[in-house]
């Protein structure tokens, strides 16, 4: 099958049922997308399909079809992704950073859909992304900061 990842077409012959997460990480060596729970409870594996945030640990690669996959390695090429990454560094949102690719992907999708989210919208969009370091207060600030830029 052919996958469109960050604007590049890549071919692979893995089984259809293999979650996209493992295709990215183990087959293509794109390790920015993280394994966190395997049951769509933590959001560490979040990527975009045609701009929509999805959990790649629960997405069989065969279901992707021709949709465009964007990962943390490519999100900086989108206007909202670049804004979020910049805000994350300016406000020093990140601690250990392991969940942050997923946080950034969810935040970028939120901002693309809702350019000026309030706290409630942020909480609703980000509640599927766990952070054990507890960066939530700064994630809220970071999204608002990015929205202002």
């Amino acid at each position: 099958m052919d996958l469109k990842i960050n604007g590049t077409s890549r071919g692979t012959d893995v089984p259809d049922q293999m979650p996209l997460l493992w295709v990215l990480r183990d087959v293509f060596g794109m390790t920015g997308t993280k394994f966190g729970c395997g049951i769509a409870q933590c959001g560490a594996c979040t990527v975009h399909l045609d701009g929509i945030a999805v959990r790649s640990c629960q997405l069989p690669v065969g279901a992707v079809g021709g949709r465009a996959i964007t990962t943390i390695e490519g999100i900086g090429e989108t206007p909202t992704g670049a804004k979020i990454q910049k805000a994350w560094l300016e406000l020093e949102v990140i601690q250990c950073g392991y969940c942050q690719p997923g946080q950034i992907m969810s935040a970028a999708a939120l901002l693309a859909a809702n350019p000026h989210p309030d706290d409630a919208a942020i909480d609703a969009a980000m509640a599927g992304n766990l952070c054990r370091c507890g960066t939530y207060v700064r994630i809220r600030e970071g999204i608002k900061h990015a929205a202002r830029t």
């Binding site: 390790t31 395997g38 409870q41 994350w88 020093e92 766990l130 054990r132 960066t135």
Partner: protein
């Protein structure tokens, strides 16, 4: 954990500092340029010449700092680099940071002796050794320049990696004199920079580890890729201590991409071409487990056992006057508090990549204890530790979990049966069920109250000893200094005082968990303070203030928190629940003072929502004020997970939880605004990774007490006990 550095150990870091120079000048490394535009940020290797254990300077002016404390999110890559760069006079943008390899002589912690990052000790342990290392390297560079120019080194200045002779206007870059300088004898007793000239220390400079993290470039242990690497996952006996019985491998070996099944006495592992294949193979593996002796292990029995143990005789930790005699009569209060098993559950689950070959072993992992990792793998494989290479990585969270090397030992045992390198990744369920847990604690407190203040105090801490297993020399006279940290010495003047410790081991090995011993001590003391205050109809803060007259720093944070949170006004209304309350807590541990005030709303069903947290902290001198704030904010969230949701329980010898659906950690939509107020202080620096976790738990419990009139004594908060009876 113990905080007072043992003077006898100071030699360790001094030796690390003064070594270097000629004997260790890295001739072999000279001239190796950094790879340009790396696609993957693998752990860097120092380039250029070695000045000491911590500093290398390359001809292209790249400065590599080899950092003794590992970066697991707490910001110490940056804070340690600030200390070195401040004295060396280089910009942080020129710095490459690398983790130290296992080397106790150079990188053993001045506090723990062993090479370990934990206990909120990095700033206390390493600020001075790193400043000295930076200043010594700078002095050697100056000496080299002065020899080159034939002028007195005292007249030269440095800034941003350049040495200037103001008299002549000449200048030399550090890289130009590095080879010469590193060959000189390191001067002893070099003078440190006056704090008035600090441009990095005390400033909220940006972190050096986050730019790569924001773009997915950072390579954690779990992201390691080796040539011809295979992928594996595993299952350990679901019953604690059980063994593998008959195994039918046929179905598993038929899964596409599965290469091999490894069967050891206590676990099975499946090796494949990718993690997914290995997971599918493991799911298809038919294993008959032999449960062993723990099949009857149940949580209720574990609680009963520790309660019974708490009734025995304790080892005396602190004794002032004759508290037992004074607790025979008068106005007495007594209570017990219990804390549950907890899993660390860092977002990066346990994983380890290992290549065993030719009598040697190479390991790629993120660990808080590189020396323990090396020793553990060597022992498991029956080889000399010198044959084990540890490639450490940035850690995707740790919280004490990576102070343990059980996963590394298991990975080495599996890899011994695998041809070529193998990356072994635990499933989240396996990670949570096979953790080393924060142990149960049972705290018993009894006091006498006269004229509105406590005049006799008896605190008995019962719990497993982590120190006895983790650092046996630190377990002396039957006292676990970590278990009683926060109880042995308290900020309150309480008259006659007796503090005891009872060691209670179960079959479940205990481990350090963010907040460590003070989590239970402070929770119990601060819950009890509120109980006594309410029973004697005194405001909880007024009650505490009356016993803090000899501890101005404690009183200072108490008053700061009270002022900022508006103590005395009601907690604001919340749509979450009609009952609301405001709770306070105070602590002195890790060399830091904190006070917290939490607001809660409680629903009729007994669900608790924390609506605001205000923290006041006096942590002494600060290296990076923004990282300090982040650590307190994050620590508070970690503590909220514990007090609201956190528990690991056993049934039939098995852990009942397995993933984030049943071992819940706080989500953003449960996270309150967290305000942090820092008291300016010139006191010695305290630790800050753990206190936020410690302080918020009793503050929330006290707020729930205020909201409901019920003091919950076993954590986490059980909504059933505070539901409104219809």
């Amino acid at each position: 954990m113990p905080h007072a550095p043992d003077p006898a150990l100071a030699a360790v870091s001094r030796r690390a500092l003064l070594r270097g120079g000629t004997a260790f000048a890295g001739g072999l490394l000279i001239g190796i340029a950094l790879p340009v535009a790396r696609a993957r940020a693998d752990e860097p290797v120092p380039t250029g010449t070695r000045f000491n254990a911590f500093v290398h300077v390359a001809p292209d002016d790249t400065v590599t700092f080899t950092l003794p404390a590992v970066e697991m999110g707490q910001g110490v890559y940056t804070s340690q680099a600030q200390c070195l760069a401040e004295e060396l006079d280089v910009g942080l943008d020129k710095v490459v940071a690398a983790h130290a390899p296992p080397d106790q002589a150079d990188y053993g912690s001045p506090i723990f002796v062993v090479q370990a990052t934990g206990g909120s000790t990095t700033t206390m342990a390493w600020t001075m050794p790193l400043r000295k290392a930076g200043a010594t390297a700078r002095a050697m560079l100056l000496q080299a320049a002065s020899a080159e120019w034939g002028v007195d080194a005292a007249g030269l200045t440095t800034a941003d990696g350049v040495i200037t002779d103001p008299a002549s206007g000449r200048s030399l870059r550090y890289g130009q004199v590095a080879n010469h300088a590193a060959g000189l004898q390191p001067p002893a007793g070099v003078k440190l920079k006056d704090p008035s000239r600090f441009r990095l220390i005390g400033k909220p400079v940006h972190r050096i580890d986050t730019p790569d993290k924001a773009i997915g470039k950072t390579i954690y242990g779990i992201d390691v890729v080796r040539p011809n690497m295979k992928f594996a996952t595993l299952m350990v006996s679901p019953v604690l201590g059980g063994k593998v019985g008959p195994v039918d491998q046929s179905k598993a070996l038929g899964v596409p991409g599965v290469r091999q099944v490894v069967v050891l006495d206590d676990l099975v592992a499946v090796v494949g071409d990718n993690t997914w294949a290995a997971m599918q193979g493991l799911a298809s593996l038919a294993v008959e487990w032999s449960p062993g002796t723990n099949a009857d292990l149940h949580q209720a029995q574990l609680w009963a056992d520790i309660e019974k143990a708490s009734e025995g005789a304790g080892v005396v930790v602190t004794k002032q006057g004759d508290a037992p005699a004074r607790l025979k009569d008068g106005t007495l209060f007594e209570a017990t508090y219990e804390l549950p098993f907890l899993a660390h559950a860092p977002m990066e689950m346990t994983n380890c990549t290992v290549h065993v070959h030719d009598g040697a072993c190479e390991i790629w992992v993120g660990t808080q204890v590189p020396g323990f990792a090396q020793a553990g793998a060597a022992k498991a494989l029956g080889i000399d530790p010198a044959k084990v290479t540890i490639n450490n990585h940035l850690l995707g969270g740790a919280f004490g979990r990576r102070l343990e090397v059980d996963g590394i030992v298991i990975a080495a045992r599996i890899a011994a049966h695998v041809e070529g390198p193998v990356k072994i990744v635990w499933s989240r369920e396996e990670d949570i069920r096979q953790e080393l847990y924060r142990p149960l604690y049972h705290d018993r407190l009894k006091v006498r109250v006269e004229n509105g203040r406590i005049t006799a105090w008896h605190h008995r801490v019962t719990g497993a000893s982590i120190m006895a297993r983790w650092l046996p020399p630190a377990f002396k006279n039957g006292i676990d200094v970590d278990a009683v940290d926060g109880a042995a010495k308290i900020p309150y003047a309480v008259g006659d005082m007796l503090v005891e410790y009872i060691r209670n081991e179960s079959v479940i090995p205990p481990a350090f968990w963010r907040g460590v011993g003070p989590n239970s001590s402070i929770f119990s003391i601060e819950s009890f303070m509120d109980l006594v205050a309410r029973k004697t109809s005194v405001d909880p803060l007024a009650f505490r203030r009356g016993m803090l007259d000899k501890d101005p720093r404690a009183l200072g944070v108490l008053n700061l928190a009270a002022e900022k949170a508006g103590w005395g006004t009601p907690a604001p209304a919340s749509p979450f629940g009609p009952r609301r309350g405001r709770g306070f807590a105070l602590m002195n541990a890790f060399g830091s003072y904190l006070a917290a005030i939490a607001d809660v709303a409680v629903s009729d069903a007994g669900d608790v929502r924390v609506t605001r947290v205000v923290v006041a902290a006096d942590v002494g001198k600060v290296i990076n004020p923004d990282i300090l704030l982040a650590q307190i904010q994050g620590g508070v969230v970690f503590g909220l997970s514990a007090v609201l949701h956190g528990k690991i329980t056993f049934a039939g010898g098995r852990v009942e939880q397995g993933n984030f659906n049943d071992y819940r950690i706080l989500r953003i939509d449960e996270t309150p605004p967290i305000e942090v107020h820092i008291a300016q202080s010139t006191e010695n620096a305290g630790g800050i990774g753990e206190p936020g976790t410690v302080i918020v738990q009793p503050a929330v419990a006290n707020a729930v007490f205020a909201a409901t009139g019920v003091q919950l004594t076993r954590m986490p908060i059980d909504p059933a006990l505070i539901a409104k009876v219809a």
